[in-house]
Amino acid sequence: MVSEVSAPPKSASLVGALVGNNQIVLVAALVVICVGISLAVPQFYSSANIIAILRQVAMVLIVACGMTMLLITAEVDLSVGASLAFVGVVAMDVINVTDSVFLGALAGIAFGALVGLVNGLIVTRLKVNSLIATIGTMMILQGGVFLYSREAIQNHHHLPSFVDIGAGYVGPVPIPVIVAAVIFIASYVVLRHTTLGRYLFAVGANEKTARLSGLRTTWLKLFAFVLTGALVGVAGLILGSLMNAGQPTAGRGFELTVIAAVILGGTSLSGGRGTLIGTLLGVFVLKVIDDGIIVLQWNQDLQMIVPGVVLIAAIYLDILRRRADAR
């Protein structure tokens, strides 16, 4: 059917040019927000605040890199928030017992990856829709973390290197920001320049095509789940270090922030489409808004409303743009 009326190459219509691509909208939004806030509150540009924002961005971005890949393969993981808390608890417990930050970090990341693996197996083997499957594992983890430990696991080891994971600096740059930057760049390169990245797109764009082309589709989806899980492990360590405790109550709503940022960045829920640059911008937009509402001393309830509106508005604009392209 399509072939008979196949559309010609995109024509750059006026509307299309005006709305531009999604990322330009995000950049513009970011600039407007930053300028607006800084006019009202000059301290917005203080190095302390910028570092504060960067650190918040880092936490979300680390997981968002994995989530972007996962959404590109047309799957989603809602359990990342619950897993984040569990990772912190496990890591702190292991460090307390072994007195080794390395082993604790390894345990935390391995735990996160294991959660990802379980999610991936439920989705690929049992064929459960990932939205439902990860709501299920979210419940299991939320309950499980309290069965594991009702109280926050305290720092009994007092190892300075543990504190550095979240609060340390290299030169003027906080360590979490460096970690996030490394993960972001690596993810970007993988997604953009490697066969693995291309295969992830292929699986999300058309799983059967990918399989007929000889790709290990199950393995690729598992990879995206495990990677996302492992990155939750990294973020969980940073959060644990920042809070200096393994908090079972942490991470509520974290999954929604991450997914909102990724979608805001133009990654499609239906797979096969998305960019990490978009994700980066999406994280920045959400976190700058979050920070702005605090420094402006506005009612913090707006921290719920504004992202909701921004998300719907951004997607609305994206749809307008696509329609303009198709016209």
Binding site: M1, V2, S3, E4, V5, S6, A7, P8, P9, K10, S11, H193, T194, T195, L196, R198, Y199, F201, A202, A205, N206, K208, T209, A210, R211, L212, S213, G214, L215, R216, G272, R273, A326, R327
Partner: protein
């Protein structure tokens, strides 16, 4: 008799014509799909609408069905000028279109699907299920189809679903019935039945538009033929004034002397693919060899198991029994990854569902299977990738504005060439092609045929699944016929005739 019908169409008649479309124009971005097209129907006659893919047939019937709006022109139904705003509107005005793609809700029963558009309701507005079941049964009895009206529609074979679609037209007391390639998945017996039904429709004074590219059928059933080409109206003539040749000439605007070029010589004696005793849920004990440099054609009616066989031998679907060897090496483990690495792959019949990554650019689609060969340490050498892709775009004359065009914007023929190039870039030795020309226009078909011939000449082994007899006879070196999951006949190129093949196909 057909000649008289045509004269009658020209002459003034007392009753207004059921449908007159005049000066219909429709354009899509960058494409003029229809340009000043006329079409009028007579009550009780079958009007064939012909043309290559892309000629505008589908656009015209979609305008009639209310799926698209027209840009210019007028539509008169029973003499009154009207507009058709939506599919529901078309139905209310007595137009029922039976689309080529089955338009049934597979979770519903057959009976419910029959009355989908107009549920009979009681005074309270409740659906009268009893009446639906009774009327559906009566309807099928009247037209002589044997279908379980309480069955879940999705559980029926495709051919029966098509029959349900046609029965639907009757249930709605439509005055105009449009059939878009209705026989593409029917057996000869079912086609005969369909024609009986069409004659019953016309006897009731219903006007029928019959869209088809099968000349034999058109000569058998149509009273009048309208040919479209490139969105323009070419001719409307009584069928009696046409011969096969004139009709083809009208359709493609030139003569195709040699639709099936043959440049290759004898196949080598080297076995490229050996299938022994393969059995699955749908296949029983399938055994055959394919030699390098030959085209082995598989024919079978709908449900014979061609696609199932294709998917089994490329490792996509699991097998219960049997062995598959590619170039002497067994396909083990039985998955597509192993299959591709051994050099066998499938050019699917379902381009959209299993072949294309619609939102991704041409180059990504083209290089997908061969990406590893452009990579060093996992990193893609994008220059090499683009150059290789460009090579195929040039060689296959793939019409695309750029390598980065999203593939969904290409025509069916060009998409098919990209998918074929995907496998050649990978360097397969055995290519399984399933319905290679489905949804592709005549011009592009010829190119695809030439490519398949060329591949065989280069030493590839080609396994071709097809339901198109000319394609089968024109391209194959050997023909195998399937029925109910088994191989029911095997013929050399010289032995193979349409009659023998059909006899073998009907189990």
């Amino acid at each position: 008799m057909p000649a008289e019908a045509a004269t009658a169409a020209v002459a003034e008649t007392a009753a207004p014509l059921p449908l007159e479309m005049t000066g219909i124009g429709k354009h899509f971005p960058g494409v003029i799909a229809l340009d000043n097209v006329d079409l009028s129907l007579e009550a009780g006659k079958v009007h064939a609408l012909m043309g290559e893919n892309g000629a505008g047939k589908s656009t015209l019937i979609k305008i009639l069905a209310g799926v698209y709006g027209k840009d210019t022109g007028t539509i008169r139904i029973a003499g009154r000028e009207t507009s058709i705003a939506s599919p529901g509107d078309a139905l209310r005005q007595g137009i029922k279109v039976v689309f080529q793609e089955i338009a049934l809700i597979s979770e519903f029963t057959v009976a419910e699907n029959i009355f989908l558009e107009q549920y009979p309701t009681g005074r309270s507005g409740s659906i009268n299920w009893k009446k639906i079941r009774q009327d559906a049964r009566a309807l099928f009895e009247r037209i002589g189809f044997d279908v379980d009206t309480n069955a879940r529609t999705g559980a029926l074979p495709i051919s029966q679903q098509q029959m349900v679609e046609i029965a639907r037209a009757l249930a709605h007391e439509a005055r105009i019935v449009v059939m878009d390639e209705p026989t593409s998945s029917l057996t000869p017996a079912e086609v005969a039945l369909l024609f009986t039904v069409i004659r019953r429709l016309t006897a009731l004074g219903i006007a029928v538009i019959y869209v088809s590219h099968k000349l034999d059928e058109v000569f058998e059933i149509a009273d009048t033929v309208t040919v479209l080409r490139d969105g323009r109206h070419i001719s409307t003539r009584p069928i009696g004034e046409h011969t096969h040749d004139t009709l083809i000439q009208d359709m493609i605007g030139r003569q195709i002397d040699d639709l099936f070029p043959r440049s290759r010589g004898q196949a080598s004696g080297k076995v490229a693919l050996s299938v022994k005793g393969v059995a699955t849920e749908k296949l029983r004990d399938v055994t055959f060899d394919v030699y390098a440099g030959e085209v082995l054609g598989f024919f079978g009616l709908m449900g014979a198991g061609r696609t199932e066989l294709a998917k089994a031998i490329v490792g996509f679907d699991p097998i219960d029994k049997g062995t598959i060897e590619i170039g002497g090496r067994p396909l083990h483990p039985h998955d597509t990854r192993t299959a591709v690495s051994l050099g066998i792959g499938l050019l699917t019949e379902d381009r959209k569902g299993e072949g294309l990554m619609l939102d991704l650019p041409v180059v990504y689609n083209l290089s997908l299977a061969a990406l590893g060969s452009f990579a060093r340490g996992g990193f893609i050498d994008e220059t090499a990738e683009r150059e290789a892709a460009q090579g195929y775009v040039d060689r296959f004359r793939i019409r695309t504005p750029s390598l980065f065009q999203e593939i969904k914007n290409l025509s069916g023929g060009n998409q098919q060439k990209v998918l074929l190039a995907r496998w050649l870039l990978r360097g397969l030795s055995v290519i399984v092609v399933d319905e290679p020309t489905r949804g592709i226009d005549v011009g592009a078909k010829q190119e695809i045929f030439a490519l398949i011939d060329q591949l065989a000449a280069d030493g590839h082994a080609i396994v071709m699944m097809t339901s198109e007899m000319p394609e089968l006879l024109g391209l194959s070196d050997r023909v195998m016929v399937m029925g109910e999951g088994r191989i029911t006949g095997s013929f050399s190129r010289d032995e193979a005739t349409q009659e023998k093949i059909l006899n073998a196909a009907i189990v």
